[in-house]
């Protein structure tokens, strides 16, 4: 068996038993990447020498000792490029470690490789990368999802044991679903955002991609907790998320939002997810119908709030202090204009313009302020639902991976790819996507994801539920043929 096909927990055991050294693990991984990544293009940069030096000194007794972890190109790692897959940050190197990276290092892990993404995390297909698209390991003519498509693809293709991504409206869960791995979006405030290049500050959250739910728990153990450098991180206790895995889920109540199961869903997804829910029932969980009445407004609210925040967050990319600067500008205004015209891709520009518009004088009340009010209602929907149930269960994505280029000219249809994931970010709750089956297309198997949503800071219960399903089904063990 190939070393790289092991899960994070398995490779950890091998390292602790001294059956392999951290350097051997890294070398095996690099060989795998060299072999399969030209077809996947999940990585945009790697520094083997630096990682090898860290591997030689790794302490395998630490929780993630000696294990390489791939990092989405939107999270700062000292000395490494951090371009957010954008031309405007090409050549930029981070002068500091994000808090999650510091925490990973403290747990003994080795940040290795920068993964591809939609530029500035804006997109659902990773086609908006200025470098290259990433290809779905299950069918390389299809997208891996996005925006963290690189992180999802490298974990699915055994090019990483785990990867970090960021989720603003589904950017971890949706690609995890489409690539067939586990993707966890922690509750807002669970994981520090310091060092995560902001897309939409009130929605962004960092989380892991892993091959198993147990691995997600181990990663969450390492990266969670209050950070004095992020005022929005919260001082909630960090339990051992692996401790409750394997416990009985009998009697737990799972809610099916009725608004999520009404047309518009690919029949293969609908059928597979319903089967998964029946499976939960067979495990002793109680299935209850719940209502999230403001669901229909989530996408609209999201695209107002996220773009408004993004329009300010991305203002700093102006060519004055770092990154791309346009040549030949006659004056300051022209320099700003040309730099941003050349540096940003179409989707980023579209969102900056939209965000600028909704904040403009005369429109603020009608758009931004109203969106914030509806956001409160959406949050309340979930609070009410969680009074009745322990978690919500639904599809992650309304359909399996689509073909590269299929949606490029239809941004509105692309936005609907996140229809089931967006509300969790607006409500600040936690969510996870795990594999629950496959759809067959063109002779290929395309993964389908099951989404579980939990109360704020209720990740332990969410992981327990996900683990129970995973361990009693075969889906997570299937691998793409590469």
């Amino acid at each position: 068996m190939e070393l790289t096909s092991l899960s994070l927990s398995e490779v950890r055991e091998e390292l602790r038993a001294k059956n392999v050294s951290p350097l051997e693990v890294l070398q095996a991984l690099e060989e795998r990447i060299a072999r399969v990544d030209p077809a996947i293009r999940g990585y945009v940069a790697r520094d083997f020498e630096s990682a090898a030096a860290q591997a030689k000194n790794a302490d395998v007794s630490l929780p993630l000792g000696g294990i390489p972890i791939a990092i989405k190109d939107v999270i700062n790692v000292l000395g490494e490029p951090c371009a957010c897959a954008s031309k405007i940050l090409r050549g930029y190197r981070s002068p500091y470690d994000a808090t999650v990276v510091k925490k990973l290092r403290a747990a003994g892990a080795i940040p290795y490789g920068r993964t591809n993404m939609d530029e500035f995390a804006m997109g659902s297909s990773t086609e908006n990368s200025s470098i290259s698209p990433t290809y779905n390991p299950w069918d390389t003519s299809r997208i891996p999802g996005g925006s963290s498509g690189g992180s999802a693809a490298v974990v699915a293709a055994d090019e990483a044991f785990a990867a970090l991504g960021s989720d603003t409206g589904g950017s971890i869960r949706q690609p995890a679903a489409l690539c067939g791995c586990a993707g966890l979006k922690p509750s807002y405030g669970r994981v520090s955002r310091f060092g995560l290049v902001a897309f939409a500050s009130s929605l962004d959250q960092i989380g892991p991609f892993t091959k198993t739910v147990r691995d997600s728990a181990l990663m969450l153990n390492a990266i969670s907790g209050l950070d004095t450098q992020d005022s929005t991180s919260l001082d909630e206790p960090v339990p051992d998320y692996a401790a409750t895995l394997g416990q009985d889920i009998k009697g737990l109540r799972l809610g099916m939002p009725k608004e999520y199961f009404v047309g518009g869903i690919d029949p293969r997804v609908d059928e597979t997810v319903r089967a998964a829910i029946r499976h939960y029932e067979s495990l002793g969980a109680e299935i209850v119908e719940v209502s999230l009445p403001h669901t229909g407004h989530a996408v609209g609210v999201y695209y107002i709030i996220a773009t408004a925040e993004a329009s300010a967050n991305l203002a700093r990319f102006d060519g004055v202090r770092y990154g791309h600067r346009a040549a030949g500008a006659a004056n300051l205004l022209e320099q700003y204009g040309k730099t941003r015209e050349e540096g940003f891709g179409a989707e980023v520009k579209r969102r900056i313009i939209l965000g600028t518009y909704v904040l403009s004088s005369g429109y603020y009340d009608a758009y931004y302020l109203r969106a914030q009010k509806v956001r409160t209602l959406i949050r309340r929907d979930f609070t009410t639902a969680f009074d009745k149930v322990d978690a919500i269960v639904c599809p992650t994505s309304p359909e399996p991976a689509f073909k590269i280029g299929e949606r490029s000219d239809d941004p509105l249809r692309m936005y609907l790819a996140d229809i089931f994931t967006i509300a969790a970010n607006l409500a600040g709750i936690c969510g996870i996507s795990i594999p629950c089956g496959f759809a067959q297309a063109d002779g290929k198997a395309l993964p389908i994801g099951l989404q579980l949503l939990g109360k704020p800071f209720d990740e332990a219960r969410l992981l327990k539920l996900a683990h129970a399903y995973e361990q009693s089904t075969p889906w997570h063990k299937q691998k793409p043929v590469l």
């Binding site: 999270i75 700062n76 951090c82 957010c84 940050l89 930029y92 981070s94 002068p95 500091y96 994000a98 955002r193 310091f194 060092g195 995560l196 290049v197 902001a198 939409a200 500050s201 009130s202 004095t228 450098q229 992020d230 005022s231 929005t232 408004a308 925040e309 329009s311 300010a312 203002a315 700093r316 990319f317 102006d318 004055v320 202090r321 770092y322 300051l332 700003y336 600028t356 904040l359 403009s360 004088s361 603020y364 931004y368």
Partner: protein, 485 residues
């Protein structure tokens, strides 16, 4: 026709916190360019702001000193505009919920320019405030021949913006407003408020209207004044210019003008067409914080303000209102006076010494009160010695000059100069004779070898002299006389 000017001031004050508003970088004026920067104040991708609570406290304190209402919640907003001195191209500021609202700045006679103190139109006027809010300062640009350099040391320094109501009626009142406000901020310990160092910056909104007209004229903003007297000059020029324009029938438009101190004129910078849409919205990186605990803590340590101090000097010490004002308005001078008069029986004499001898000596040596060679304790002792009549006032001046030159305490100088009063040997001899005669037994003891008995006799002499005799001399005279018996 008579025209009435109306002026409102927007004052920016740098708080003297140790670290910046949203990061741990030190606040220091005059450091190497870009020495005090980090990912946060450089606006690097991924960096996040964290509130400096001391800045919140200082702003709340300023608000309490100025009689403002303090908002129950402190909330920050993003003010969006592009400029090279703005690291993030948005400024973290407060839009619809300033930390402080209302309140006012009381103007006092001595805050006016010297030449205007005799004709104050509205004595004891209080200029009301609209609001005080907290924001981060921007970086500083330096223009070279072919390029521009940006120093981000200043970027992120806590900045209070204090906005007055448009109810200042003259350049002199504006001068008094700024002077009085500055005194309060310095006494509160929230800022050094030095305009030359940019710690206090002022923009003026000025308009004129014909007497009897209710509506204000077109609001014209003036920027770039570097001193309080500069503000007065700029306003005087601008008011005259606007009245002149009105008289010639010209319509004034809302615009921003730049004051040029060298030419003594204002120049057009931009008209209203270029007005910004700042697209304010709540900063999602900073969750609103409750202010009740913070305000409670600040309320317990409110310093005494110049006006209260001045009144106390007049009422308790009998110092003249003018002298009391000079002492109270300058924090250095008033702290010195407080220390020097701490144990004094006559604080008024101490005040006179501080205001006359000390100030003129400092003036002659162009020294600052904080670096004065005469400690307040020494000056207090000198005044006490004079008050007790141990040395004369004339001798006191001599001792003070020596103290100022050498830094020695007064007792040392008096001893060195042998200045103690009752150097009149005749009087001391007479007292000694009197005591020897009245205590034959003690004298016999002394003569029998009990040398310490002389101390009793010495004490008796001092008592008779009511403490005025020079003890050293008394000892000498007694010893001589006893030996001669």
């Amino acid at each position: 026709m008579r025209y009435l000017p109306t002026v409102g001031l927007e004052v920016h004050v740098q708080l003297k916190t140790r670290s910046k508003m949203f990061c741990a970088c030190p606040v220091e004026f005059g450091a190497e360019p870009n020495a005090h920067t980090c990912p946060v104040c450089l606006g690097l991708p991924g960096a996040l702001p964290v509130m400096n609570l001391e800045a919140l406290r200082m702003t709340a304190l300023s608000g309490l000193l100025l009689g403002c209402d303090i908002a129950p919640v402190c909330k920050f907003d993003r003010k969006n505009y592009f400029y090279p001195d703005m690291p993030k191209n948005y400024q973290i500021s407060q839009y619809d919920m300033p930390l402080c609202a209302g309140g006012g700045v009381p103007l006092h006679d001595m805050a006016y320019p010297k030449d205007a103190q005799k004709n104050i139109t509205h004595p004891d006027k209080v200029v009301r405030l609209v609001r005080i809010h907290l924001e981060e300062d921007v970086a500083k640009s330096f223009h070279f021949e072919t390029s521009t350099g940006i120093d981000f040391n200043r970027a992120g320094t806590p900045l209070m913006e204090i906005v007055s109501e448009p109810e200042i009626d003259s350049p002199e009142e504006a001068f008094a407003y700024l002077t009085a406000l500055k005194q309060i901020l310095i006494h509160g310990g929230v800022s050094d408020a030095d305009m030359e160092k940019g710690q206090l910056r002022c923009d003026c909104n000025v308009s004129v209207r014909p007497e009897g007209q209710k509506e204000f004229g077109a609001k014209i903003e003036i920027k770039n004044m570097n001193s309080i007297s500069g503000v007065r000059r700029a306003l005087a020029y601008e008011i005259a210019r606007q009245i002149d324009a009105c008289e010639r029938g010209e319509a004034l438009r809302q615009e921003t003008r730049r004051w040029d101190d060298a030419s003594g004129q204002t120049w057009l910078m931009r008209t209203k067409e270029y007005a910004h849409d700042y697209r304010y919205f709540p900063d999602p990186d900073l969750l609103p914080v409750k202010t009740d605990v913070l305000v409670g803590a600040v309320r317990g340590r409110l310093p005494e303000l110049p006006a209260a101090r001045r009144a106390r000097y007049v009422a308790d010490y009998g110092v003249s209102p003018y002298d009391a004002g000079v002492l109270a308005n300058d924090i250095g001078l008033s702290s010195y006076f407080e220390a020097a008069s701490k144990d004094s029986a006559k604080p008024k004499s101490v005040a006179n010494w501080v205001l006359n001898d000390l100030l003129s000596a400092l003036g002659a040596s162009s020294g600052a009160i904080e670096a004065c060679p005469v400690s307040p304790e020494s000056l207090g002792k000198l005044v006490a010695v004079i008050e007790r009549g141990e040395i004369s006032g004339k001798q006191g001046k001599e001792v003070f000059a020596e103290m100022f030159a050498t830094g020695k305490p007064p007792q040392t100088i008096i001893a060195e100069k042998g200045m103690k009063q009752e150097s009149d040997t005749g009087a001391i001899e007479a007292l000694c004779d009197q005591v020897i005669e009245a205590n034959p037994k003690v004298v016999a003891d002394y003569r029998a070898g009990k040398v310490s008995s002389i101390n009793f006799l010495k004490g008796q002499v001092m008592k008779l002299s009511q403490g005025k005799a020079n003890p050293g001399m008394v000892g000498e005279v007694l010893a001589r006389k006893l030996a001669d018996l």
